[in-house]
């Protein structure tokens, strides 16, 4: 899956159709999703992650409503229509990637930023 290759880019997590990289040089996150590559600043990524996390899967499965979720990404002014599978995949991706990011933060707190 992983198509991003650069020294300053590190894979945070990947699923079968998606991946998330951190680019230290640009201080950006790069989401690869179904052939699309979208760059995020940290706060944009957090906003997007929160949107995905708040998508109610049960409601989406309800046959009364259309089973796609429309998500607007204001930072790149794009609109996505995510299917249930997409949402599941993104939820998994973010759960994994943010665990890695929090782990990285812990390492920085305990080892890197500690002066002595």
């Amino acid at each position: 899956m992983s198509q991003v290759t650069s020294d300053s880019q590190q894979l945070l997590f990947e699923t079968s159709h998606s991946s998330l990289h951190q680019c230290d040089e640009l201080e950006r996150y790069i989401l690869q999703f179904k052939g699309d590559s979208i760059h995020f600043r940290a706060c944009e990524l957090i906003t997007f992650k929160r949107k995905v996390q708040k998508i109610d899967l049960v409601k989406l499965l309800d046959s009364e409503t259309p089973d796609v979720e429309i998500v607007h990404m204001p930072h790149c002014d794009r609109i996505f229509a995510f299917t249930i599978e997409d949402v599941l995949e993104l939820k998994e991706l973010f759960a994994g990637a943010f665990t890695m990011l929090e782990l990285n933060s812990m390492i920085h707190r305990q080892l890197v930023r500690r002066p002595f």
Partner: protein
């Protein structure tokens, strides 16, 4: 790998959510006080109306304090949707009863926030909330004192006149003096 996340996200998701909820609650209180002010104003209780107009302004300030905190922390601050407020009251005393009830609900809510901060180890937000904890002690005190005026003076025409005269003097520092 750089710790970019830490540089940009100071607050945990749960904390952001609960602060956004509080923004909504303060906005709702501000609107509710406005309705109370209107009720008093049309019935000639000018001072009581002024009291509630001031309360409404204060709630708006609280709302903005929370809102700006979120913005300062680079978090998503949601401009709240405010629902209907209660516009009908049986009598003047009921208005003040409702006010006290609202303040107690806000106090509970602020305390819940402090508890959450402790649970997730957010010392900074806990510190930020300290002002609100104190503020709620004062707000509840003032609300209770207002109701006590009804208990002491009664609710006949003369009593209501006296309450109207005294309502703007009800202050927290009266506790010490």
């Amino acid at each position: 790998m750089k710790d970019i996340l830490r540089r940009h996200s100071v607050l945990k998701d749960e904390v952001v959510d609960i602060i956004n909820k509080q923004v909504q609650m303060e906005a709702q209180s501000s609107a509710a006080y406005l309705a109370m002010a209107a009720w008093c104003d049309v019935r000639g209780y000018d001072n009581c109306a002024e009291f509630f107009f001031k309360q409404s302004d204060q709630e708006r300030e609280h709302q903005m304090k929370f809102f700006k905190y979120l913005v300062d922390m680079e978090c998503d601050a949601i401009s709240p949707a405010v629902g209907e407020s209660q516009h009908e009251f049986e009598k003047l005393r009921s208005v003040f009863e409702k006010a006290l009830e609202m303040e107690i609900a806000v106090t509970d809510s602020i305390h819940d926030m402090v508890r959450l901060c402790r649970k997730v180890g957010d010392l900074a937000t806990e510190e930020f909330l300290r002002w609100f904890v104190q503020e709620q002690i004062e707000e509840e005190y003032v609300s209770r004192r207002c109701l006590e005026l009804f208990d002491v003076l009664g609710e006949d025409k003369i009593a209501l006149g006296m309450i109207e005269e005294r309502i703007l003097d009800v202050k927290y520092d009266a506790a010490e003096g």
